[in-house]
Symmetry: C2
Subunit: 142 residues, 2 copies
């Protein structure tokens, strides 16, 4: 485990020496290496992951940033297929096309869904709290 990372110049896109192994990325993101390979296979990444001479994956900071955002989309229950669409838009953008309006729309839609999600969970939590309180009350005949 090499911890001396010689600060890659920001904006570099080719894999360099400060890059991370799949296990390191997995740990940082709190997901498994299996899952990382799965996401890659499913076309969720923005560009091919770099490889070391040994053909082992080497993730750049940019990869990490995207994967971090991706996991936040997953944590808020965005389906894999939807994330894939988003990734495709980003890739199309890199070819000169302007897909920002679509990306913005997609994120706004998702935002709405997340707010609804939060609402449902919060309301359910209130019911659970109420039940807990009623149990506690009963066990505290004072």
């Amino acid at each position: 485990m090499t911890l001396t990372a010689p600060a890659p110049q920001p904006g570099s896109s080719a894999p360099g020496l400060g890059d991370l192994s799949i296990a390191e990325v997995a740990e940082r993101l709190g997901i498994s290496a299996h899952t990382l390979r799965y996401y890659e296979r499913e076309g969720l990444l923005l560009r091919p992951v770099g490889r070391a001479s040994s053909s082992h994956r080497r993730y750049t900071e940019a990869d990490l940033t995207w994967l971090g955002f991706l996991t936040k989309l997953r944590l808020t229950a965005m389906p894999i297929a939807r994330i894939k669409e988003y990734a495709e838009l980003v890739r199309r953008d890199a070819t000169g096309e302007d897909t920002e309006p679509e990306r913005l729309a997609l994120l706004r839609d998702h935002r709405t869904a997340v707010l609804a999600q939060l609402d449902q969970i919060t309301q359910s939590l209130a019911a659970i709290d109420f039940k807990i309180a009623s149990y506690e009350e009963r066990n505290t005949p004072s």
Copy 2:
């Protein structure tokens, strides 16, 4: 669809005339009739559902109350197996045994999980909002 429900006396446990069909319950809870039967099969209900002379299910208010709580547990991602445990505790309680401490512990555990869930979602939402804001900014060159 009979909407004139002659207010069942509260506390009644035997199926009566004001009871609801599976379709009515499904609609009220926002789940499918298929799902309701599935929950029943899985042993998530507190006692056998009443039947009309036609052998069609008739849900009491008490059934509805429990199913309402159960859907809130589901909405907060409690696994079916865990809900089943909880239901079993409630049923054991009805036999004279006191399972309240266990039920309280189970709900408290779940509450903790829900809070963590809310936290993760909220943090992810912040990242999504940040991204949305950065897109909007770029499209507003003033």
